[in-house]
Symmetry: C2
Subunit: 108 residues, 2 copies
Amino acid sequence: MRNLNWTAAEKKIAREAFDRAYAAESQAIRRELNSMLNQRRKTDAEVIWSMHEYLVERRREIDRKYDYRYSVLIMVFGQLCAQGWLDLDDLAGLDEDKLHGIRRILKA
Amino acid sequence: MRNLNWTAAEKKIAREAFDRAYAAESQAIRRELNSMLNQRRKTDAEVIWSMHEYLVERRREIDRKYDYRYSVLIMVFGQLCAQGWLDLDDLAGLDEDKLHGIRRILKA
């Protein structure tokens, strides 16, 4: 998987899919923050420090997950599909080798 | 300042003032988070990571500032008054030595 060639057209598809997943996950985090912020039964201190903890975890996870090196991108897309941030349809146009690799990770 | 004696009555006043300042500051942070979360001109990613950065800074600052050891409490109260999280009125009932120490820091 590491030595696949990416055509210009595939790179464009990959970049758009990657950015779309990142935007979708960012939006989900913003919604979760909104929900945490509006919890009525917690003190202000409980709310803000639970948001702090949540964001520190998300930052760590997202920094690790969104790695746009072509050498790892099949793995990244497999994980993003498995987690629901992307559909295989978002990746239509990649060659069969790459899609096969992504599906294999998705089923693992 | 480090070897002041704290009577039971003073400890009660100190604890209540300390907790009040902490609650006020937590509330202000929650309001700021609400304002950040509702910024319309930023992307979701910009909003959530600016909140992350803000909370990491606040956590560091608050952990350092809210130190309830009697050996440093005069300094802590001086700082909380200087920053507007407490009034000297909140500390009424502490003896004159302590109030003098707090006012001295407040004016520094």
